[in-house]
Structures are given as C-alpha cells and as structure tokens.
C-alpha cells in the first residue's frame, strides 16, 4: 500500500463531525486489508477525539480550526486530530463509580478517552496550554501487531 494522506481543516462546530467520520472511513476503506469492524473502531475513535477537540475550542470561544489528518501507511492507518484548545491533564480525569453504584448515573461524560484506548491499536495524546494532539493508529494486518 503506497503512503497516502488526506487532511481536513474544520470549523470547531459539532455539525462537521459526521463529515469527518465519513472522510476518515472512506480513506481507511481504501486499504482492502482493513476489515469493516476495524474501520468502525477507527470511525468511533476519531469521532471521540474530534468531539473533544471541538469542545475544547468551544469552551475557549476559539474560532481556530481543528485539523484531522489521515495517513495510510504500509502496515497501519494513522489519524491525528489537532486542536488549539486549552489542553488538559490526564490526571484530572475522574474515574466513574462502579456500574452497580446508583451514583454511576451522575456521570454522563468521560467515556471518550476510555473508548479511544480500547478501540485504537495505538494512541498517543500530547497536550499542553497550546492545544492537544491525539494520534490514533489501527493496524491493517494482524501480523503487524507487536
């Protein structure tokens, strides 16, 4: 598979999420080795990362754009979502109560990063006061798994 990339710059508005999902799914689908289930994993992980990016800009009142770059490489599909928001500290994330605890219903949010960790074969989050970059990788063939 020849290296190939597509890059999107979107306004930080939720209405663009479905377009991002469609473009990334279509790009990943160009690699015939990638199963539909893995494309779905990537679609959801990218949606989560882009949602966080949009939300970060909205919270700041930023009019800057969010960048989504999708690279098809020899043995993996790589997506990087970059925002210019305020960044966040992983240590600030509050774990959810157990599902058996009625207080679990108090927590509507906070599943996005957990899903990214589960769905992507690799993920890397770099965040500081200038913004956040989330890199997601899905392997195209089982043999490329470490």
């Amino acid at each position: 598979m020849t290296d190939w990339a597509v890059e999107l710059e979107i306004p930080a508005e939720p209405e663009y999420l479905s377009m991002v999902r469609a473009v990334v799914s279509a790009a990943a689908g160009l690699d015939p080795r990638l199963k539909d289930s893995r494309i779905e994993d990537l679609r959801l992980a990218v949606s989560e990362a882009t949602t966080n990016a949009i939300e970060s800009h909205v919270n700041m009142g930023s009019s800057e754009r969010v960048t989504i770059r999708c690279d098809l490489r020899e043995d993996q599909v790589e997506v990087e979502v970059t925002d210019h928001g305020e960044g966040f500290d992983h240590g600030d994330l509050i774990p959810h109560p157990p599902v058996t605890d009625p207080k679990r219903l108090e927590y509507e949010r906070g599943l996005g990063l957990s899903l990214i960790r589960i769905l992507a074969d690799e993920h890397e989050i770099v965040s500081d006061s200038e913004g956040t970059s989330v890199r997601l990788v899905v392997y195209t063939a089982p043999t490329s798994r470490p």
Binding site: P14, E15, L17, S18, R21, E40, R43, L44, S47, E48, T51, I54, E55, V99, T100, P102, K103, R104, L105, E106, Y107, E108, R109, G110, L111, G112, S114, L115, I118
Partner: protein
C-alpha cells in the same frame, strides 16, 4: 440535521424510535425529547435504537441521563437494539449493567416496568 424520532404506544410503554447518528451535534435533540416525554408524564420508556447508524460517548451520556431522569421520577427505561456494534459498545463501557437491553420492542415491552423509588438524584 434533525435527528429522526417518533413515538408509539406499546401497552403501558411509550416507545421512542430514533434513527440516524447520535453524536455531539444531534444528542441534544434526543435529550430534549426525553425531557419533554417525562414532563408529559411518561414513566415507562423504551428507547428503540434499532435504526441507529452511529452512537458515540456523547450519545451514551444522553442515554445514561435518560435512565437517570426516568428513575428519579420512579420510572423505567429500556433500550432496544440488535446491532452488534452498539451492543459491543454497551458491553465495553459496562453500560449493559446500568440499563436493560432487549433485541426488539416486543421483548422490551413484554413485562411491566420496574419502579425505582429513592434512586440517585433525590
């Protein structure tokens, strides 16, 4: 984009059928619809997600909020889906232990709603 939704009565249950994609853009519509139904007195709600093409963590959050809203009003919410992808999502987030999931509307509405007096939020 409007989120396609419609309600139908099934015995003592009201079924809210949702189609399309539930994400940050569309989730507020689902949230408002559930709030309106509970305000109208609905206490037994089946959320039919059989025709959902996509649901992310924002959508899951709205479902959790809907469960909470029903239960704090002594009501019950059941979810319908047969979609493997959505079922897997409920499983990995363990939300399948927070609310009951049924394969179709008939199964979801076959038994009386449970009451949740004294549920969280009181």
């Amino acid at each position: 984009m409007p989120l396609p939704m419609r309600t139908l009565d099934r015995g003592e249950w009201v079924v809210l059928q949702v189609a399309g994609e539930i994400d940050m853009a569309s989730a507020p519509q689902l949230r408002q619809r559930v709030v309106a139904l509970v305000s109208d007195g609905v206490r037994a709600l089946v959320l039919d997600l059989s025709n959902i093409g996509f649901c992310d963590s924002t959508g899951l959050g709205v479902i959790v909020a809907a469960v909470k809203r029903l239960r704090t009003n002594d009501g019950d919410l059941r979810v319908v889906t047969n979609d493997e992808r959505l079922l897997a999502l409920f499983e990995i987030t363990r939300l399948d232990q927070v609310f009951a999931v049924f394969p179709d509307i008939d199964a979801a509405s076959a038994t009386a709603p449970a009451a949740y007096p004294g549920e969280s939020g009181r």
